[in-house]
Symmetry: C2
DNA sequence: TATTTTCCGTTGCAAAAGCAACACATTATG
DNA sequence: CATAATGTGTTGCTTTTGCAACGGAAAATA
C-alpha cells in the first residue's frame, strides 16, 4: 500500500502518544486478530507478514489481503456485513500494534499527535485501500486461471519495475488468493511455462512476453 | 450505498454552492463518463441507473459497480492503476452532477458549504465504498456459479429485508456482474429452481431455503 | 540429525463452465 | 403499428476447472 505521508513517523507517534494501545508479538501461524462486527480496531504490522483470511461454509479458504511491514488493517478498513469468519493469520513472526476506537473518525479527548495525524490522513489511507480492493476485483473478474495468473504477475512486475520478481506467497497460498484450485493452478503454471509466457525458478517468476 | 449523513441536503449544497460543477442529462446507453488517470472527478447520480463497466482485451464485459439514485462515483473512488477502459454507462435516462478536483482533500478557496460537508463526510463515504468493494470481493471469490448466485441473492434479500426481491439487473447484466458466462448462469438458475432453492417469476426472485 | 509436517508437482477422472447457435419473447424505435 | 434490437431460455459440444490422490522435495521441529 502506498501512502502519501510519512508512515514511519506516524507509527512513532502512535507508539509514543495515545494510551489505548497494545503491542503484541506473534509467532508464525498464530491468529493475530479476528474481525468482529461493530468494533473499530486499527492495527499496524510493525514487522513480518500476515494474511487476512476467510473460510467459507464449504471449507474453502480465501486469502482476502496480504499484509507486509507497515500495513494497516483491522475493522476500520473492513466493514463487516456477513457472518463469514475473517481472521488475520501471521505468516511469519509478527509484531503488531493494536488500537481500538469507538468511532474512528472522532478525535480522542487528549487530542494527541497520533490522532491528529490519523484524522488528517485516514481518508487517504482508506483511499489506498480502495485502490487495493479495486485491483483485487480486477483480478478476480478475470474468467480463467491463466488470465488471473498473468494479471497477477503483471501487477507484481509493475510494482517491482521489473519483469522478474519473487512471489510473496507460497503457491498454495497464491491459489487461495486467486480463488482457484491449487492443482489446476499448477497445471496452468506448467502450461504457461511450456507456452513460453513465463520462466519460473523456485519462487521467482520472469515474464517472457513483451 | 448507505450513508450516515443527509445526502439530499448534501446534493442541495452541491447544486447551489460550488461553481466548478456541471449538470448533465443522459439517455439510456449513453456513456456518462470515462475514468481517466490522474483526474479526480466526483459524480452524483441524481436520477436513473448506471453501471461502471470494464471491457478487457478478450472482449469480456464486466459490470464493476451498479449505481442507483444518489450514488457517488468517479475517479475519487477508483484510483486507476491499469490501462483497462472503465466507463459509466447509463442504464436508463440519467441526471448526473459532475465536479472536478485538483485534489479531492483540499478545500476550495471560497470555503463553500459543499466543501465543508464533503471534507467532513468524505472519509465515511469512502468507507462505504470499501464496504461495497469487500462485498463484491466476497461474491467473486466464491468458487461456483451456484454459490455466486446464492451469495448475491442472499445479499439482496438482506438489503430488502425480505426473501423476495427484484433483480436490479437484466440477467445478461447479472452474468457480467458475477463474471460468469450467461448461458451457464441460466443453466444454473434453472437447476436452482429445480432443486427448490429459489422461485423466479420474471425479474423477481424468492428464496425458498431457510 | 532424525522425523514430522508442509509444500510442490503431477495425474486420471468427474464436474462445472464456457462457447456457439438458435427460437422465442419482450422491449425500443422509426 | 411494423420492424429492429435486445433479452430470455435452451441445448450440444468442448474446454477448463475442481477433486482426490500420491510421491518426492523442502522446511520446520524435536
Amino acid at each position: 500500500m502506498n501512502t502519501n505521508f510519512d508512515i514511519e513517523n506516524f507509527i512513532l507517534d502512535f507508539s509514543n502518544s495515545c494510551q489505548k494501545k497494545q503491542k503484541k508479538i506473534f509467532s508464525k501461524n498464530e491468529v493475530v486478530t479476528t474481525y468482529i462486527k461493530n468494533r473499530n480496531q486499527l492495527c499496524i504490522l510493525l514487522d513480518g507478514n500476515a494474511d487476512l483470511v476467510r473460510y467459507d461454509l464449504n471449507g474453502n479458504r480465501t486469502i482476502v489481503e496480504h499484509f507486509s511491514k507497515n500495513a494497516l488493517f483491522g475493522e476500520v478498513f473492513y466493514t463487516i456485513t456477513t457472518n463469514n469468519e475473517l481472521l488475520v493469520e501471521a505468516k511469519s513472526n509478527c509484531t503488531v500494534l493494536f488500537y481500538s476506537y469507538d468511532d474512528i473518525f472522532h478525535k480522542c479527548r487528549n487530542n494527541c499527535k497520533f490522532h491528529q495525524t490519523l484524522s488528517e490522513n485516514l481518508p487517504q489511507l482508506i483511499l489506498n485501500k480502495v485502490t487495493d480492493l479495486n485491483m483485487r476485483i480486477e483480478l478476480l473478474t478475470k474468467r480463467s486461471t491463466r488470465d488471473k495468473l498473468l494479471g497477477y504477475f503483471s501487477l507484481l512486475s509493475t510494482r517491482k519495475l521489473s519483469t522478474s520478481f519473487e512471489l510473496p506467497f507460497s503457491l498454495t497460498d497464491l491459489a487461495d488468493y486467486l480463488s482457484v484450485d491449487r492443482s489446476a493452478m499448477m497445471r496452468e503454471l506448467k502450461l504457461l511455462k511450456e507456452d513460453g509466457f513465463i520462466e519460473k525458478i523456485g519462487n521467482r517468476i520472469t515474464l517472457l512476453y513483451k
